[in-house]
């Protein structure tokens, strides 16, 4: 591998307004990144168990577990990171707590510590991501990429801005050092924050706001993903033509059927035009805009691979050589 001027992101953070499908997009991105011989870790941090059902897998835990085969023979692993376990992990590592750690946990102290210091929670979670993204195993990277199904747009900047939040925590000692090294990675080009939206006013507005907040916090924005885009072929057609066409096809249309189809098609055309306007608005931000189709049957496992294939070309451009 040769060093390049633009390091390829290893840590992909996927955020978006609630209901825009950020979990599906994160999962599809993980599949797309898992090319031949590559290993990708897909992580969630809010205990929602949103990933497992997409892969028709049992609930995820703190242990990394094989989830699915990637698009071209790579592998995707899944993990649900919990702040309390991460703190215990951390304490064990730095203070050699041994069984005392278990006592603390039983006593509610671990829960208490992560509760009174919300910044600590975020440092522990992002710290686990950094650890996974930079871990080596027998001479090679354990994971070629780590994808996070992140908190929604409203909370994501606070979540990622660990240096600011850690202002209230100990500045010296391992946690301070730890938070600074996590912050360095999150603010570097090794990280990309992707923002998912649907073609609708509120999600697009939140995406624009999130973009500005991320830029202001000096966090690297990756792609903007316009998700659930409905497709319809643009034709010029009126009610009389529709009636004639239905008769040719042997459907014996009544007035209600014809007017219903006219109404639906007009709405679909209007939707396509509004999608164009939203795409323009996103492109003005100057970041690449990926577009994913609305899957009429909802997103199931085969739908995830379908979305992954659409996302693939966008990330192949940034794929490392060798």
């Amino acid at each position: 591998m040769t060093a390049s001027a633009f390091p390829v992101p290893r840590l992909h953070i996927v955020t978006g307004k609630g209901g825009t499908g950020k979990t599906s997009v994160a999962a599809a991105l993980a599949l797309a990144l898992a090319g031949t011989g590559r290993r990708v870790l897909l992580v969630e941090v809010e205990g929602r168990q949103g990933i497992a059902p997409l892969f028709e897998a049992p609930s995820l835990g703190y242990e990394e577990r094989h989830l699915a085969a990637g698009l071209d023979g790579g592998e995707v692993f899944g993990q649900s990171v919990d702040a309390d376990e991460a703190l215990l992990d951390y304490l064990t590592m730095f203070y050699r707590l041994g069984s005392a750690g278990k006592v603390l946990q039983k006593f509610g102290a671990i829960d208490f510590a992560t509760t009174i210091a919300p910044g600590l929670r975020d440092i522990l979670l992002t710290g686990k991501l950094k650890e996974a993204a930079s871990r080596t195993e027998s001479g090679r990277m354990a994971y070629d990429a780590v994808v996070l199904d992140a908190p929604p747009t409203g909370r994501v900047v606070k979540f990622l801005n660990v240096t600011v939040e850690s202002g209230r925590l100990a500045k010296t000692g391992p946690i301070g050092k730890h938070s600074r090294s996590v912050a360095r990675m999150l603010h570097s080009s090794l990280t990309a924050v992707h923002v998912v939206t649907t073609p609708a006013a509120m999600p697009v507005q939140e995406t624009v706001d999130a973009y500005k907040e991320l830029m202001a916090a000096d966090l690297p924005v990756g792609q903007l993903v316009l998700n659930k885009v409905a497709g319809a072929k643009a034709v010029e057609v009126d009610a009389a033509q529709i009636r004639a066409g239905l008769e040719r096809a042997g459907l014996h249309p009544d007035d209600a059927l014809v007017s219903g189809l006219v109404e639906e098609y007009a709405a679909a055309r209007a939707e396509i035009e509004s999608v164009d306007a939203y795409r323009d608005r996103l492109e003005q931000l100057g970041r690449p805009v990926a577009e994913l189709p609305l899957l009429p049957e909802g997103v199931d496992l085969s739908g995830l691979y379908q979305l992954a294939r659409v996302l693939r070309p966008g990330i192949i451009g940034g794929r490392r050589n060798g």
Binding site: V103, A170, A232, L261
Partner: protein
């Protein structure tokens, strides 16, 4: 399958025995819009003195309800036709400050406000927003100024947070760990420390390193200054929680036809039932509107027949568009059926997606009319 009972929105809004309607659900299901539309309809159609308490409205909706001005008190919405509608946006930090101020002397309050730990808890603790929404609801109710309060619940990770978070905050503020901490900090009662023994020592040593000594001191000072107000804190949270169980309250679960949102709705419904909270119905927003009565299969068959003679037949494009809509709707109905299967006794109201963003009073009126089936 048994018939799903239909939720009668107008009967609910017009019921003079109901004084609180709480709209719950996961993020992105149209909770705020639904709450605002129901409140407007309660005022205009049923002539009730109504107030809507929202948490985090979209900017344009906030503008049209006149909620931009801060103040943490309801303000009248202009141009409401009949009844009256007030609206307010929750200011979490300010509500917390008011609670503290009302429970202690001005000197103590000033001490508490200056404490860094208080500042962290009142502005960033993940349960504070829910707790303060409950608190504000209690305050609004106590004034007796309104016939009906419509509550939009916070945009939590999970709808369940709304029920759990207040208890979590109360537990945090008078839990045994906090007592232990204040006890094991210099100047505090030593007796607590000896009770807890060695684990307390380990605890203090490790957490002083991890969190920084100043944080533990802040916590200890905070608990010391709050000591006399703890009881009040907890009692208030419990009173508001109990008030939600009486039959003057009505919970509505809001969902969208997506697996995660429907899953949340099912969990939330179970919890409400367990807690004996009065759940009156479920509103399913954002169903794909289908206007033509034709199955996807027949539409696709007809499209294929037309394309045999002309690959670019425009009517085939129209039929394929319809088939997509019909398949989307069918998939949504399958997701929605999970709720009906898990919670068959809960009345439902299913609403089509309006296709436009709801930004002003006219939009809210239209949404309310569709919701009521009027």
């Amino acid at each position: 399958m048994a018939e799903i009972p239909e939720l009668d929105i107008d009967a609910l809004l017009g019921d003079e025995g109901k004084h609180v309607i709480a709209c719950c659900g996961s993020g992105g299901v149209g909770k705020t819009t639904t709450a605002a539309a129901l409140a407007l309809r309660a005022a205009e159609v049923h002539g009730r003195r109504t107030v809507v308490l929202t948490i985090d409205p979209a900017r344009r909706l906030a503008q049209s309800l006149g909620m931009e001005a801060l103040g943490n008190v309801p303000k009248a919405v202009e141009a409401v036709r009949g009844g009256s509608l007030d609206a307010m946006m929750l200011d979490m930090k300010r509500t917390f400050d008011e609670v503290v101020a009302s429970h202690t002397t001005p000197e103590r309050a000033a001490e508490i406000f200056a404490n860094p730990f208080y500042q962290a808890v009142s502005s960033t603790f993940s349960g504070t927003q829910e707790y303060m929404a409950m608190e504000k609801l209690g305050q609004l109710r106590a004034t007796g100024q309104w016939d009906l309060i419509v509550l939009d619940t916070p945009p939590s990770r999970s709808a369940l947070d709304f029920l759990d978070a207040p208890a979590r905050l109360a537990r945090l503020l008078d839990g045994r760990v906090i007592r232990l901490l204040s006890a094991s900090t210099p100047g505090a009662r030593r007796s607590m420390l000896s009770l807890m023994g060695a684990s307390a020592a380990v605890f203090t040593r490790v957490f002083n390193k991890v969190l920084g000594g100043h944080l533990l001191t802040d916590v200890a000072e905070f608990t010391a200054s709050l000591e006399d107000t703890f009881g009040g804190f907890r009692k208030r949270a419990e009173a508001t929680f109990r008030a939600l169980q009486d039959d003057q309250t009505s919970f509505l679960v809001i969902a969208a036809p997506e697996p995660a949102a429907v899953g949340e709705a099912v969990y939330f419904t179970r919890r409400l039932t367990e807690e004996r909270m009065p759940l009156d119905g479920m509103i399913l927003n954002r169903l794909t509107p289908v206007a033509a009565d034709l199955t996807a299969e027949r539409a696709l068959g007809a499209a294929a027949a037309l394309e045999e003679s002309d690959a670019d037949d425009p009517v085939a494009a129209v039929l394929r568009t319809h088939a997509d809509l019909a398949r989307r709707r069918a998939a949504e109905e399958r997701v929605a059926a999970r709720y009906a299967a898990a919670c068959p006794e809960v009345p439902q109201r299913r609403l089509p997606s309006l296709g436009v963003e709801v930004v002003d009073l006219d939009d809210l009126r239209a949404f309310g009319a569709v919701a009521a089936g009027a």
